[in-house]
Amino acid sequence: MKETRLVRKAIKGNVKAFEELLILHNEQLYRTAFLYAGNREDALDIVQETSCKAFLAIGQLKNEQYFLTWLTRILIHCAYDVLKRRKLEKPVEQLTELPAAGKDGTAEKLDLMEAVAQLKEQHRAAIILFYYQDLAISEIARMMDIPENTVKTYLQRGRKELKIKLGGGQDGQENVS
């Protein structure tokens, strides 16, 4: 409820409320950015650019309940921009900053993140929005400007790619529809 109040204030131009909101979501913002960028420096750039663009556009947000979805959409666009700028310098395959493997099955989890970071852009976006942001297929379709069936295809292909990258066995029987 507190968040809804903050969003309303932010829409009306309250800078402090806007800052508080972003700080509230700082971990999710950074982790999503990190999945796109694969390294700390670019992830921070993406967060900074997202904060700037979202600040300029917050007055246009029409429904406060979709604040996080709206913010994520901006973040994904910023991530594409930052990645394009870095593409020549740093191929995604050369990611080196993903956290080191630990004990208790951590390696498996880290492998998953590394595999996600190497997915094709569209597949990666669909996977992140579905599995991490918990968005419904219809919402992802709206956000990515593609039909729902295409989202399902991206998710299926993304999962298949992940399964291959992870050496099989990761994909469950989950139904995406």
Partner: protein, 324 residues
């Protein structure tokens, strides 16, 4: 793979909290500076133009007492808050009055006004009856063109403002098809009205309209200016100069993974922020490459008939000056 496993893996990504907060604050500071260097000088103008509009609308038909008019000014300013085109057209008496009604489950929706300026459409509607939800939490969820899959954005939520008799809502959209007709009907269906419900997006329209819209006089200027960057060919084809809005039609050849970003500046070098819409209106394959036709609408006119555009794709940037 399940969501929990994914979340657990994400948790493993260490967050440099202090740096993230600095990045957030830096971004906000940067945005704030941009706003300050280009202050939204339209704000005061918008309110006074809305005041002129309400004086016309109210005095023309209702002859209200002065206090009533004054009471309406903030309301219309708020209703048209995100539609500068409506403010300008209302002050020139160019918004058509309508009275198209649809009823469903004890709720009546009446489309009361519409305009079609250049490529921009605005529709105002009243809602009366048994609407669920707290007064300041009432929304309408609508679709256009029966969710035609060829159109990029077909559904949207709009917040309604409470009035003495119910609620009033206003929507603005860009005409999403390549051909701009002089006179047509806009298929507009309201799917849900009231407190936002998650199931709305899976439902069909309940208050369905074919809103008659007639285009206001406009000027079309052929531009035919082509720029090449990042392996793409961007051609500014034509400009549609409406009464209070401008639309720029351009094509991007080679569009696909590469995106093109356009930043607009007026003749004084001020960046135009807010209210613009850039949507794909056609996509086809020409000589083996994808050709995307897009229409960018700007909710204002350009008296000096001049617009500067910074085109970016990848790391490349080009500047185009359009004069007409």
């Amino acid at each position: 793979m399940d969501k929990k496993m994914f979340h657990d893996s994400m948790e493993e990504i260490e967050v440099p909290k202090e740096d993230v907060i600095k990045a957030i604050q830096g971004g906000i500071r940067q945005g704030n500076n941009m706003k300050k260097s280009h202050p939204p000088r339209k704000r005061a103008a918008a309110v006074s133009a809305a005041a002129a509009a309400v004086l016309f609308i109210s005095s023309g038909f209702l002859f209200p007492s002065v206090p009533n008019v004054l009471a309406d000014i903030p309301f219309l300013a708020k209703l048209y808050e995100q539609d500068q085109v409506a403010v300008n057209l209302a002050s020139q008496q160019l918004i058509a009055e309508l009275n198209e009604k649809a009823s469903y489950d004890g709720v009546d929706v009446t489309v009361t006004e519409a305009y079609f300026d250049g490529a921009v459409i605005g529709v105002t509607f009243d809602v009366k009856g048994d609407v669920e939800g707290a007064e300041d939490e009432v929304y309408a969820f609508y679709e256009i063109f029966d969710r035609d899959p060829e159109i990029e954005e077909t559904m949207e939520l709009v917040k309604l403002l409470p009035t003495e008799e119910g609620f009033k809502g206003h929507i603005q959209l860009s005409y999403p098809k390549a051909q701009l007709p002089d006179e047509t009907r806009l298929p507009l269906n309201f799917i849900g009205i009231g407190e936002i419900k998650d199931h709305w997006k899976n439902e069909q329209g309940k208050w369905n309209f074919d809103v008659p819209i007639k285009q206001l006089p406009f000027e079309t200027v052929a531009l035919n200016k082509t720029m090449e960057l990042d392996g793409l060919k961007v051609t500014f084809e034509k400009l549609i100069s409406g009464n209070s809005s401008t639309a720029l039609e351009y094509t991007v050849k080679g569009a696909g993974e590469n995106r093109v970003d356009l930043e607009l500046f007026d003749d004084e070098g001020n960046r135009i922020i807010g209210g613009t819409s850039d949507a794909r209106i056609e996509k086809k394959t020409v000589d083996g490459s994808i050709l995307e036709k897009r229409r960018l609408t700007i909710p204002r006119g350009f008296e000096n008939r001049c617009l500067e555009i910074r085109i970016s794709s990848g790391e490349e940037q080009e500047l185009a000056e359009l004069k007409w």
